[in-house]
């Protein structure tokens, strides 16, 4: 009856023994050489990236400043061009065109004449009389 338990205990002991049997490693002679190479490479790439970032940052700032300057100048030019005084002849033409546009037959239903107003009032009264005889 005890045999399976003993067998399991022996297996456990042997498995845990693997850890005790792990050898003590010695770093290879090239360990430090590789390490220093790695550190130098990472250092160089880090400093290179730093310089790149610095110059790139300066270029970006310069580009943004230039774009802002162009936008400012063009908006100022547009503003001053639109500020030109309207000549009287132009204004007269514009008013005439406006009155032509809104006095055409197509838009006649917008104009409420005296006849249409009195007709509507009479109609309203007739409706009220029908409701309250």
């Amino acid at each position: 009856m005890k045999r399976p338990d003993e067998h399991i205990e022996a297996e456990i002991r042997r498995t845990l023994q693997v850890l005790d049997d792990l050898p003590n490693l010695k770093a290879s002679p090239l360990f430090r050489v590789h390490l220093m190479q790695r550190i130098e490479t990472s250092h160089q790439s880090a400093s290179g990236y730093g310089t790149f970032r610095q110059t790139e940052g300066f270029r970006m700032k310069f580009a943004v400043a230039a774009i802002l300057l162009v936008i400012n100048i063009s908006s100022a030019l547009l503003f001053f061009n639109s500020q030109e005084p309207l000549s009287l002849t132009d204004a007269g033409e514009a008013i005439e065109q406006l009155s032509d546009d809104y006095s055409g037959e197509e838009l006649a239903y917008y104009v409420e004449t005296d006849d249409t107003a009195s007709n509507r009032q009479a109609g309203d009264q007739a409706v009220q009389e029908n409701v309250n005889p």
């Binding site: 067998h7 399991i8 297996e11 456990i12 042997r14 498995t15 845990l16 023994q17 693997v18 850890l19 005790d20 049997d21 792990l22 050898p23 003590n24 490693l25 010695k26 770093a27 290879s28 360990f31 430090r32 590789h34 390490l35 220093m36 790695r38 550190i39 990472s42």
Partner: protein, 202 residues
């Protein structure tokens, strides 16, 4: 005496690392630091990953990190403790990565996009000792270890390595010696239970 030398080395490396003109001397001091701790770091990583190649890569990562962060070392603990703590952190990160990779490859196998290259044996073939001890047994042990909480795993594995006292393990884990003893005890019990369950079922 050794500790005093280490403090002096740390102070010198730190002070010199502040100036760019002393890069060469700084590198020499760093080389000395590496020479002093490389075997301990390598073996610490090896206890966690049980593979020489991975352990060497991790040890390199540890010293790259040490080189990068030496200026931020606040001397709240010994320099060696700080270095070994980095080694433990890197090793645990590696194990977590491996666990994720394993899980992902299982999913890939289930959905049928299995990469045959992943099934190739690991480079542990260059480690005859492990091959002798039994690759399968090592795998079973590593699986059981990976189910333990990080602090139990760390305390147990460091206790198995020559050169670490419980007091040093406590410093690395930033806890008390009694807590380390308790962690080791619980780790042993948990491992025993897990292995027992494994061998009962298989």
């Amino acid at each position: 005496m050794e500790e005093a030398g280490e403090i002096a080395l740390t102070a010198e490396v730190k002070s010199r690392s502040l100036g760019n003109n002393a890069v060469t001397s700084n590198n020499e001091l760093f080389r000395a630091l590496v020479a002093e701790h490389q075997d301990m770091v390598l073996n610490t990583c090896y206890r966690f990953v049980m593979n020489r190649q991975d352990a060497e890569d991790l040890a390199q990562d540890v010293f790259v990190e040490v080189h990068r962060s030496l200026e931020s070392f606040r001397e709240e603990s010994k320099l060696s403790t700080w270095i070994y703590r980095i080694a433990v952190t890197k090793s645990l990160d590696h194990l977590r990565r491996m666990k994720r990779k394993k899980r992902f490859s299982s999913i890939k196998r289930i959905i049928g996009i299995d990469d045959p290259a992943e099934d190739l044996p690991s480079t542990s073939g260059d480690n005859p000792e492990q091959a002798l001890a039994g690759k399968e047994r090592a795998g079973i042990l590593q699986d059981a270890l990976n189910t333990l909480p990080d602090n139990q795993k760390t305390a147990f594995l460091l206790s198995k390595q020559d050169g670490y006292t419980n007091s040093e393990i406590a410093d690395i884990l930033q806890t008390s010696v009694s807590a380390v003893e308790s962690l080791i005890h619980r780790a042993k019990k948990n491992l025993h239970d897990k292995l027992s369950r494994y061998y009962t079922n298989n």
